[in-house]
Symmetry: D2
Subunit: 378 residues, 4 copies
């Protein structure tokens, strides 16, 4: 694996590296860690990389790696730059025959997303988007439970993503994460809806196996001078007849990263909260609630295969993240064996999920500007 | 106190009686417990009432009690009939000089509500509506905290009221509570939004001290053949610039009575859940969350005065209900001493709250039928 | 009902009155509320009692009530004085033909307890001890579950009762509750073990249906100058082969009234916490945990019959307390109909439970003074 | 790093490898993964190791690695065999100049432990014992809070470790983990008390900064035919005057890995539960409880330095485990730079902790066989 982005000062770059390294299946062999070559060099050294494989930029990295013998070069790139810097390296990597794993949202705009999808289709290479939360074992269990029909036909979906860290203008005090996320030139058209709303939308679609079809959204920018939304709430409809509420806000003062979802069907419901991710609550019309736990002997195969420790030994965010990397790595390996890769089979979010994320951002913004109640999401 | 409604088969009638009786300040002296005189008689006997004061209907009750010497007759009536049977007895009681405490929603329609308000104003008698949840000590604490400004200007309000008991067509299997609540002729124009949505709206306004000004609602009737909504969700705006989400549903299978609210200001937030009502969570931008508990030595006067037991001795629904009755009783006593009664001073929901509840139902239904996003609530 | 004790400044007296009054089945008709006749008079007036039935002391009360015609006199006395003042009024009341309900612990010493048991046997009158916590619906459910054998043979019992209110020498600052509880002349030989340890012991025996047989105890007095234990912990054995841990402490700073119990059998376990009393957790070897809730349609008859509100409308301490009063009142009524009363049948704690409580205090103190590990409890 | 043990069928070996690999600071370069050379070979291959460095046994591994040039050989060994196979490889590794990290309990017996301590002292090499739970950020925070004196002098410590997986005779159905743990020849004299009791004891001493001085223990073997204890409970005393309860059981049916601790001082208390490790509750005499969270801006340096993700991105067991490895690796690096290593400074459990663990097992067993209440723990 070669990494693009993730130099000193980056948060998500280190997360990707830990997730990739957890299982001993993936080795970081090169990187272009920063637009600042000095930062890149220092980062590479701290990671014990061969200095010859620490590059000044992604173009140099891809070209140089291509020059190496096939069994020595990196097999895929991990892109962890701000959103506006996803598309170009992803395109070049795919065109050069490398596989790609990219942080969410997929790219900067829906147009870029559709273009990238074409490239994936054309090159046949594997592309994954790190919608991390779908990597949690009990999220997979939730999906399996809905799919099994045990809850009956789904009627209601409530998915929430409150954070509080943008309650004040932290972007004005040098917080690097806040700076680019509140900058339309780097983040894209969505603020909170892009940064975390796309996670919420993906989680809802992943667990229910249904697609969002219509959005009735209200956006706010509470912090003065901020150029993107920092708060969103919306009513939503799904293609299976269900409806619900989705909200994603970064001004819920005192909240950390409280993504959570509740799904109700005709005969029962489920509830999962990311901050206590090893517990999944099932609720029933006529019997006691049930508490499912990561590692429980009763969980389905998908959950079990994504669990590393016995029940009661909590797994967290990095393990969920690592599950995406592992699934991606399995697909890459199978590709090299000549198989055709369908992301669903490996259970990682692929380019189609990425395109839907961008379409979601698009529809939310359209809806927010409309006086009409419902805006379609296609 | 004389009770109208609450005969055998009634749920809320017994609740009102327990709440009224808890503190030894209110005595049930008469009743017209049912439109079925036999039921009324049996109920009265089981309550150890003087058979002469168990009446066949409310007209007879009010007239007969008026015939008693002033120091022997009931002082107020408690109305616990289905919604369509609130208005007439309330009107007659007030006109006859009795005070009134009535279950929510206030009446059958906004028109009736406004008419009743006039009667209250005209007669000067005390009227309370049992928006029970505002009787909880920590709800009062939440209100005090918002009012103190500790959270900063309020930005977001999320109030939810999921229940699951109407997930199936229980009204077809003889469940009396379900039958009248799903019958527009007895319940009024609102289903879930009237039965529980009004509680959610009242709670949000009570805690924030702000008024709902606009509604963007979506209503569903999931159970076939049902004539009223059994599910609602809406985006809402408040007069102080805050916005939020309100949902009230009776088809969230597996939920009991999970009313809950979260309020976020510029510097902090709060969270309260009715099913664990003795805990109030405060969340802060820069310091640990705090857990406030009923009976804690640190709570404000309003919470303390509505608490009966020391911290750790849980109080519940009946105690909250009793707090409404106690505040109403204090007002009645003060009225008899010649004071003019302003419900806010006694901290119980009055006719104005009742009118707002009916206006809320009205606005939600209008919004649900509109293709426009926002419908004003005045 | 006539009350002995419970004047101004008393905590538990008002609790008993609210519990007795909740269901409209019991009426307070007289009282000797305080050793200070003025206090008694004021208390009686505040309770709207006939001044002629507010007495200067319990002797006067019992004698005067006996002088009333049988259908006008009180039927039973409720004794809520400090522990050293339980025995004499209970004896006199029973000998005079009145039934007795008395706060725990039963009396001042094991000797008094055994003597009182004889009087109960001799007079045949009904006596209840308010081990409140056994009145909670889900405690009854827990007992039913153990009794059903669903957990298998019981192996381990952990029962804890941490409070923090005696962490400092509050008895020196005029806190009336603390003063008599830390005074051996009024409280008896046990401090924390008498005040709350007896509740824990009763709860464990009630839920498991087993008896404590041996105690290995360690007592502390952490606050300087205090004359009784304020902290206890002990290993315990049961007559069914189970063993466990019991602790009761009043110096667990920051704890409110955190009585809780866990019971494990061969195939499963249960957990109940008094501070969230409407939830009972079942744990299983091979399947998800289950959450039982007060009012759930699946609970057993004993739990259902002790529940007043639908699921999700929380019940608390006063309702549990009222359940003891209701069961006692049913027994009193049946007695008057000529039946012989066996407390177990009515499911309230009787004189035998009271005697066991005193024997428990006795054994704990013996054990604490012994260098031998185990002291029998008979 | 070279690993001894951890072949196919091992649980803890893979855990160690993931923990070591998480941060990209430690590389697995060789191993003797099993007493079965074939298993070792297969394991090494699956880990992408150079086949020449996959050894048939630890003697071969240590000797062969010593033959490599100093800059190519492993720097330390990770020992993850059953307890009876800790001592010999640890001794040989230390004597050969390698550092050692070893799973708990340190060795098979107190005698071995003391002998190993001598070797550590003699060789000066770094030795760590993986008392994983002290690696959690909020455990470090708890230690810092006690040490700061914020809770006042500590009075009570309750530490519990209930598991349920040995409720039945799983060792008879081929469960490898259960087989050796219930075999005195491989596990040592302690069953539950060795496997998990030592963790509980270490956690209590780590957080309080105090030492256990006396034990009053009761041991059970509930499952027929089992040769070691599967259940323990004990009263304990600490050197600072505090006392408490410790229990560790593997027959608490339905429990997973529910290690938890509560500590109370004169003015406040704290509570931490391993199954939700990102939350630490502080309790106070006179103010609301506080909820501290991993990654919160307010935590102390020790907690912060052991955290990888922002607040709300849960960390778990592997991250805690990795913290032990990281601290050990820092010490190893400093050793190589010529520094003298004191484990406390690096905040990892060292040989002294390991010796205490063995002394704990010893004292508990002595106490369990004694009729005297208290057995000293030195």
């Amino acid at each position: 694996m070669g990494q693009i982005g993730g130099g000193q000062g980056s948060f998500i770059g280190r997360i990707h590296r830990m997730a990739a390294g957890l299982d001993g299946e993936i080795e970081l062999v090169c990187g272009a860690f920063s637009s600042d070559p000095e930062n890149s060099k220092i980062t590479g050294a701290a990671l014990y990389l061969d200095p010859r494989r620490v590059y000044a930029n992604y173009v140099e990295m891809i070209e140089s790696e291509l020059d190496l013998p096939a069994d020595q070069r990196m097999e895929f790139v991990s892109i962890v730059t701000p959103n506006h810097m996803h598309y170009a390296p992803a395109q070049m990597a795919l065109e050069s025959g490398f596989h790609v794993i990219v942080d969410k949202p997929l790219v900067f705009s829906l147009t870029e997303a559709k273009s990238l999808r074409k490239t994936v289709e054309k090159t046949g290479r594997v592309l994954a988007v790190t919608h991390t939360y779908s990597g949690y074992p009990l999220v997979k269990e939730a999906r399996a439970i809905v799919s099994s029909g045990r809850l009956g036909a789904i009627r209601k979906v409530y998915v929430e993503y409150p954070q509080g860290w943008l309650s004040t203008a932290v972007e004005n005090s040098g917080q690097e994460q806040a700076i680019w996320r509140t900058d339309p030139a780097r983040s894209g058209a969505g603020g909170a809806i892009g940064d975390i709303g796309t996670h919420a939308a993906h989680l809802a679609e992943y667990i229910t196996g249904s697609k969002l079809t219509a959005i009735n959204a209200f956006l706010n920018t509470f912090v003065k001078g901020r150029k993107l939304d920092d708060d969103s709430s919306m009513l939503v409809k799904f293609d299976n007849g269900a409806s619900g509420v989705l909200f994603a806000t970064q001004v819920a003062a005192g909240e950390e990263n409280n993504l959570n979802i509740r799904v109700y069907g005709e005969g029962g419901g489920l509830e999962w909260r990311q901050e206590e991710p090893n517990t999944l609550v099932l609720k029933w019309l006529d019997k006691p609630k049930e508490i499912l736990r990561t590692g429980g002997g009763y969980v389905s195969e998908g959950a079990r295969n994504n669990t590393r420790t016995p029940a009661g030994h909590p797994e967290g965010y990095l393990e969920a993240f690592a599950n995406i990397y592992l699934a991606f790595a399995r697909a890459v390996r199978d590709y090299e064996l000549g198989k055709r890769i369908i992301p669903e089979k490996y259970d990682f979010p692929g380019v189609e999920d990425g395109v839907r994320g961008m379409a979601f951002i698009d529809a939310v913004i359209k809806s927010a500007h409309s006086t009409q109640k419902w805006t379609p999401l296609v």
